[in-house]
Every structure is written in C-alpha cells, then in structure tokens.
C-alpha cells in the first residue's frame, strides 16, 4: 500500500506520521532530535512505520471473530514484545560497541576483566531486565533506549564491578562513549522478523481460553502487506537537513495549521508552543493559514524557557507542571526572558516564596507572552487549538484556559493527546495531497 509520510524535525524531538491514501493516520513515531537530525529523521520514520504496521495488524484482527474483544490485549502484547525484541537488538549493539571501545593505555592489562564485567552486565540486562521492563504491567518512564538501558546499566554495573573487582568508572566510561554511537544507529529495519518473534511470545502469554492459532493468519496477512513510502514532506527547524527536493518541504506554520484543522475541523486559531518558538496561527475553514505571528529572534517564553527553569531548579522538565499545579498563591513573574527568569526565580526563592507558587507564576508568564503573540495574529476565534510540546503541561494549560476566558470569553479549547504530532500530521497530509490531489 502507498504511504504518505510527514516528518517534523523539531529542536527537541523529531516526530513522524504515516498516512494512507484516504488520509487515515496509520502510525506515529517520535525520537530525540539531539544533535543528529539525519538519524532523528530516520528513527522517527522507522518508529512511525512500526506503529503503522501495528495499525494494519489491528485492522486484520478486527476481521477475525475468534479474537473478538481481545484485540487491544493482543496489540498491547505485540507492541511490548516488539519493543523487547528491539531493546535486545540494541543491547547487543551496545555490548559490541562497549567491548570494541575497551582500548587505550588507561585500560592496559585490565581489558579482560573489563570485558568480562561488561559481558556479565549485558547478560543480566538481556536475560533479567528485558522481561521485567516489557512485562504486561511494567511501567516505563520513557520509551527511549538511552533512558531504559542507561538507568539499569548504572545499577547493575555497580554491583558487577564490585563483585568482579573492576572499577565502575571504567564501565561507565565505556557506556558513555558507546551510547551515542548506538543511539545514532537506527535499529535494523527487519521488522517482520521482530513482529513474528513478538507474536510467538504473545501466544505464550495469552490464556488458553483464546484460540491462539487464530492469531497467525491475520498477523501474517498484515505483515505481508507491502508498505511503500510514496511521498515525504518535511517540516520543522531541521527541515533543511532533509534530503528532499525543495517542494517536499513545508514550513511548520502551515503544517501546524493544517494538522490542527485535521484534528479539529472547526478550529480557527492555533497556538503552537514548541521548543524554540511560539506561533499564533489563524486558519480558515479549510485549514489554510490566513495569518500568523511568531516570537522574534528571542526565544523568550518558548518551551526552551521551561527547560532552563527546570535546570535552574534541578528538576526534570516533566516535573514542572505537576509541581506548579500544587500552587495555592499567585506570584507574579514579569520576565519571560530565559536569562532574567533565572534571576527572578532565585530572587523569589530568597524571599521565601514556595517553589510551586513561583512555578505557577512562570507558567503564567509564558502564557501571557503567548497571548500577546496570538493577539497580534488576530486574536482568538472559536475554536481554539493548542499544539506543541507545552500542550502536555497541565499547569501551562490551566493558565491558558484562564487567560483565554478573561480575554475572549467562552471559547472551545481543543488539546489533542497527540498534539505533539500536529506538525508531522499536517506534513503527511501535504504529502498525500501532493500525490492524490495533484
């Protein structure tokens, strides 16, 4: 089947969406942009195709009466076990890379012991951790290989080092040196093998009440469908890095406008707060951008601001919103400047204000800035859609809702759980239209 792909190369994450010729989203993929946009584009696309394959499997399973009512469970099992296969594959790569990196005068004479310890660490990661990480009820904090493998490597590495009389620092050094290499190497594209292997494990996991034999045919049928990439459109700050001709590149303003329109056809105003810029976009009833405004050269009040604040407070980016939600007192923060916000924050802390109240004030400051950009683009018209990474931050959303109400009254505010994919969605639709409606 012909597939249409949109890739949004953002400054923080890279997103991809795969769509069929009817405009149905088949799959979504995301990865860290880090410093290598080429790899980020490849990885996110691969992830989106994996997700698309799962969609096809779901379509086939939906037709199979023997598995009725249990499709979600099967898909969940397939997804987990596929990830497990991928995790093990990447662990293998990481192990080989670590072992290959054991060289140099610093390790002279200790090579054997270090390799021995590494082998043991990876054996345990593979044989003990993989099952735990991808067990049916397991909670994973992240889906990125670096995060999954990294935290367990540290813990197991320390134990193994102690037991084997090897310096933990040496193991850590190998890991640090190797993880970037592995991360920048996309996993092998041999998806069907991994899906079939995952399917076997699902069969083992499923209760006997299910006719597991019935699983085989639909999954095989879905795996046999050939997915061909017909047209790709790229967007986002890294779009110039994409190896496409110019007509395959669209600005993220247009992509966010169209993406928001696809999610909510009645939307007329779109706010996108991304990693490094904030955009207020006005669209018409067909999703065509009629006006837009964005922050100038200064990244004040963008997603990056929250990143700096998190660093300043020695917290994770995702912890900011929940903590700000605990605020009981309103504190006014005037600066949306990433530099001055740090100063204002320390000043407030020194005055004895609580972290949650300061954070709530910071979230409000961002939204005040966003409101100014929106008003310059023409204000808010019903319906209003909020997209971009910051839309996942509940404290930011709370402040936004309040400000919209104060300034524009009752307006429907849409926030899609997949809002981070809005730009990539718009891009994939542009790709589809370029072929289907040409």
């Amino acid at each position: 089947m012909e597939c249409f792909v949109g890739i949004d190369l953002g400054s923080t994450t890279t997103k991809a969406v795969v769509m069929d010729d009817k405009g149905q989203v088949l799959g979504r993929g995301i990865t860290n942009s880090r410093s290598n946009y080429d790899t980020a584009a490849r990885v996110s696309k691969l992830e989106a195709f994996i997700d698309a394959r799962l969609s096809l499997i779901r379509r086939e399973l939906d037709k199979e009466p023997a598995v009725a009512g249990r499709v979600d469970e099967i898909i969940d099992g397939l997804t987990r076990n596929f990830r497990r296969e991928q995790f093990i594959e990447q662990l293998g790569d990481l192990e080989q890379t670590c072992v290959a990196n054991v060289e140099g005068p610093r390790f002279a004479g200790k090579e054997k012991a270090i390799v021995g310890a590494l082998t043991e660490v990876f054996r345990r990661l593979r044989e003990e951790e993989a099952d735990k990480l991808f067990a049916p009820d397991a909670q994973r904090k992240s889906d990125f290989f670096r995060d999954l493998a990294g935290s367990r490597f540290m813990q197991i590495g320390e134990e193994v080092a102690r037991a084997n009389g090897v310096e933990f620092d040496h193991l850590l050094h190998m890991y640090d040196k190797s993880i970037i290499e592995v991360e920048n190497r996309p996993p092998s594209a041999d998806m069907n093998r991994k899906f079939r292997s995952a399917m076997e494990r699902v069969r083992g996991e499923m209760s006997s009440a299910l006719d597991t034999a019935a699983l085989g045919a639909p999954i095989d049928a879905a795996l046999d469908i050939e997915m061909s990439e017909r047209y790709v459109v790229g967007t986002g700050y890294g779009r110039v890095r994409l190896p496409f001709p110019k007509e395959h590149i669209r600005s993220e303003i247009l992509c966010h406008g169209l993406g928001a329109h696809l999610m909510y056809p009645k939307t007329r105003t779109v706010l996108d707060i991304g990693g490094q810029d904030t955009k207020g976009i006005q669209i018409d009833d067909k999703g065509i951008v009629v006006n837009f405004q964005m922050n100038d050269r200064c990244a004040a009040g963008t997603g990056r601001y929250l990143g700096y604040v998190a660093d300043e407070m020695n917290m994770g980016l995702h912890e900011l919103g929940p903590l700000a939600m605990k605020s009981t007192k309103s504190i006014r923060i005037n600066s949306t400047c990433t530099v001055f916000a740090g100063a204002e924050l320390r000043d407030r802390l020194a005055l004895g204000d609580k972290r949650e109240d300061i954070l709530a004030g910071l979230h409000r400051a961002i939204m005040l800035r966003a409101m100014s950009i929106i008003s310059r683009s023409g204000g808010i018209t019903d319906q209003f859609t909020f997209t971009g990474g910051v839309a996942k931050n509940e404290a930011a959303v709370k402040e936004l809702r309040q400000l919209v109400k104060e300034n524009y009254g009752e307006v429907q505010i849409n926030i899609d759980p997949d809002s981070i994919y809005t730009g990539a969605l718009g891009a994939s639709e542009f790709a589809r239209r370029a072929v289907v409606e040409a």
């Binding site: 303003i253 247009l254 696809l262 067909k286 065509i288 951008v289 050269r297 639709e429 239209r433 409606e437």
Partner: protein, 432 residues
C-alpha cells in the same frame, strides 16, 4: 558571511556610475579642508539638496553614513560604542551608529575622516528622533543649527497655511542662515535651474519605479529600489549627474522589458517570478545581501515599496517645480511618506497592491524605529481586509546586526510564500 564566499555582484553600467558618484561625493566631503568648501549635515527625507547647491555647500547625510557602515559590517561595533557611552539599546540604531562613528574618528567609507559640519539643517518630516539626534550633534559640534519645521499631515492633507509656514521659514531663517555660513548670496534663478534638473530626473525615476507593473517586473522596487533611488535623495538631486544617471537606468530597464527579463540580483537575473509583493518598512542593511537572497531564491520580487518613498512621493504626481521654487520645496517636504498619517499610508499601500497586481503585503517592522513601526499591525489588518490578499510581518533592524535572526526571518518568509501558494490554489486543495 565573509566577503570572500560571496559570489561576484553583477552590476549594470548605471550601478557602476552610481558607485562612482557616491565615491566622488565622499571624496568631496572628506576633501573640504583642502577645497575650503563648507559642509551642511542634514536628513534624507525632505532634504533641500537644490537649495544647498545654491550656496556651494556639500551635504553630509548621517543616515546614509549609517547605512554605508551597516552594509560594510561596521555598524555593530559603533552601536555598542554608543551604548557604552550611555545610549539605550532601544534607541534608533541610525543615531547610535552615527554617534559611535564619531567616537571612532568619524572615518568615511573612503578611509578619510569626515569634516565637522559648518551648519546643521534639521527638517522634521515625520521623524521625531531627528530633533534629538541633531541636539546631540549640536552639542558635539557647537555649530549654527537651523530647524525647518514641517507640519505633520495629521489630517491627511496639506493646507495653504502649512505651505506658507514652511515657505516663511525658508525665507526668514533657512536661507539667511545659509548665506551667513557660506558667504554666498542666494540666487533664486540658480535654484530654478537645479529644480529643472530634479524634475527631469524625477520623470525617469517614476518611469523606472512604474516599470514594475510589467510581468515579469524588470526591477525589484525594494532591494533593487534602494540602488535606483540612492543618488536621487542623497547628495545628487538637482545635478546633471542625476539626470544622466536616470537616463541610463531607464535605458537599461527598457532593454530588460524588451528581453522579458526579471530584475537583476547580486547573483544575476532573477529567474522565474513567482510572487509579487508590496513591502512596507525600511530594509535591514547589515544582512542586506542575505536578506535579499531570501526573496530572490524563492522567486519573490517586490513590485512596490513605501520605503523608497521616504525621499518623496514622486509617483503620486509630485515634481519639483522651477516656477514656484520655494513653494515646491515646501510641498516636497510636506509630502514625504514619513510625514503622512496612517490612513494615507494605508491608502498608498492599497493602491500599490492593486496597481501593481501584488500577491500580498509584507511588513518589515524595524525594532528600533518607532516612527515607521507604530501602527504597522493595524495597517496590515486594514490592507488584508481591503484587498483580501495575505499579509505577513517580519522583524529586523536598520543597522544593528544583533536584531537580525536569519533563521527566524527565513522561517516567516517561507511560511508566507507557502501561504500565498495555498491561498492561490485554495479551493482545489481544500478537501480534508
């Protein structure tokens, strides 16, 4: 971007002539110690070049110096010097580049020091900063200063009273001051001769600007426009050089129209004309080439711009009139674009959008120019409403390199061009 990596700039013979004229003027200016000629510092909008020539004086235009320093990547350091001296970051960067330039020995583009002015001629013409700027210069040079007060066109029209007021100042203050400083007696017939030259050059200038109504447009009326209008409102209006220059330009453009060519760019002829734009606001000078490239790489040509009218709205019918020498100077000063009110500016832009069959309006809002930038968003909305064409807004600065973000401007421009595309293909793509 270093000069080495830039491709060779393509020049027409008019550009070569203009370069010679500008260089000659700087040589004349920096040679006044030897020649004994007197110098008057004055402003570009509403300048009285023909009158200055009547007293054999050389004019020095601080705005043009700032632009020259901007294009030669010198202004950044000068602005920072001025800030060190206590001028705020938000102040007009032309002013700060000028102040900084003085601090660095006032070196002209030819490498020689600028002379101190013998006289300051301040005309208001819509920019309030001009007064503060010349207060600073007067403080520095302690030379005679004369102010020509031009009533702002608040109601959108020039009354007889306003005109008389300007003429009275010319007669009673400006001309006597010129006579006193230069030692030359005012001769109105000499002024008439210069005004005749001005009108001749203005005819051709307007013809060239209006050639952008052709498809493809043979000129870029913004980036290319600041080449063509340069000599007209800097030191040359009223000279035979200016008359010859515009004859030459017109000939070149006639040739381009015959050949069906688009405008000339620093990298040669622009290929396909994809977008026709009207631009409001001054250009960015520190990244001028890069900025222009963002347009011609996309096939965007500017068919009309308001900035090229700060030196006079000749295309709206005004010509210097030798039969009414002082009255015509008053009309000229009163009619400059910067002296027009918001409704007049909107009307002019709307007219340009229609007459030049533009696809859209682009506003380059200058961070440090309150005079141009105030009200621009309102103007944009009004033009969108009246024409139904898409408009966009970018933000840069005159000569402060810190205010130019290439990625940001590129992002907005690309989005804008794609927005124009979308709007054009509109309904056919619109099923979702």
């Amino acid at each position: 971007m270093s000069a080495k990596t830039n491709p060779e700039v393509i020049k027409e013979s008019s550009m070569v002539k203009q370069k010679g004229m500008i260089a000659g003027n700087y040589d004349r200016l920096t040679g006044t110690k030897e020649s004994g000629e007197k110098v008057v510092s004055t402003f570009v909008p509403g300048n009285l070049n023909e009158l200055i020539m009547c007293f054999d004086m050389v004019n020095n235009l601080p705005e043009t110096n700032a632009i020259q320093n901007g294009m030669r990547k010198q202004s950044g350091g000068m602005i920072m010097d001025a800030e060190k001296a206590g001028h705020s970051e938000d102040v007009c960067t032309y002013v700060k580049a000028d102040i900084g330039m003085m601090g660095r020995g006032n070196i002209a583009p030819n490498g020689k020091p600028m002379p101190a002015p013998d006289m300051l001629l301040l005309s208001y013409t819509g920019c309030f900063t001009f007064m503060k700027w010349f207060e600073l210069l007067r403080h520095e040079y302690k030379c005679p200063t004369v102010m020509l007060q031009i009533p702002y066109q608040g109601d959108g029209k020039i009354t007889k009273n306003m005109r008389d007021f300007v003429v009275k100042q010319l007669k009673e203050e400006v001309i006597p001051m010129f006579e006193q400083v230069s030692g030359v007696k005012f001769d109105i017939d000499r002024l008439r001769e210069y005004l005749k030259n001005s009108a001749k050059a203005e005819d051709n200038l307007v013809w060239v600007l209006e050639s952008a109504k052709n498809r493809p447009s043979p000129i870029d009326a913004y980036f290319g426009g600041v080449y063509y209008i340069g000599p007209m409102f800097t030191a040359f209006r009223g000279t035979t050089d200016a008359v010859e220059y515009y004859d030459l330009v017109r000939g070149e453009i006639e040739q381009r129209i015959r050949e069906g060519k688009g405008p000339i760019t620093p990298e040669g002829d622009m290929k396909e004309e994809k977008y026709r734009l009207v631009v409001e606001g001054p250009p960015n000078w520190t990244s001028f080439r890069e900025f222009w490239k963002l347009f011609y790489d996309e096939g965007a040509v500017v068919v009309a711009s308001s900035y090229t009218k700060v030196g006079g709205l000749y295309d709206q019918g005004f010509r210097h009139d030798p039969n009414d020498p002082l009255g015509t100077l008053a009309d000229y000063c009163l009619g400059c674009y910067a002296n027009n009110n918001l409704p007049q500016r909107v009307e002019l832009l709307e007219k340009y959008m229609n007459e030049y069959q533009a696809d859209g309006l682009l506003i380059n809002s200058i961070k440090s120019c309150n005079s141009f930038s105030a009200g621009q968003l309102l103007m944009m909305r009004e033009i969108e409403k009246r024409t139904g064409k898409p408009a966009a807004f970018i933000e840069t600065d005159l000569v402060d390199p810190r205010y130019f973000s290439h990625a940001n401007v590129k992002n907005r421009l690309e989005s804008y061009f794609q927005m124009v595309d979308q709007k054009r293909s509109g309904a056919s793509l619109a099923t979702a």
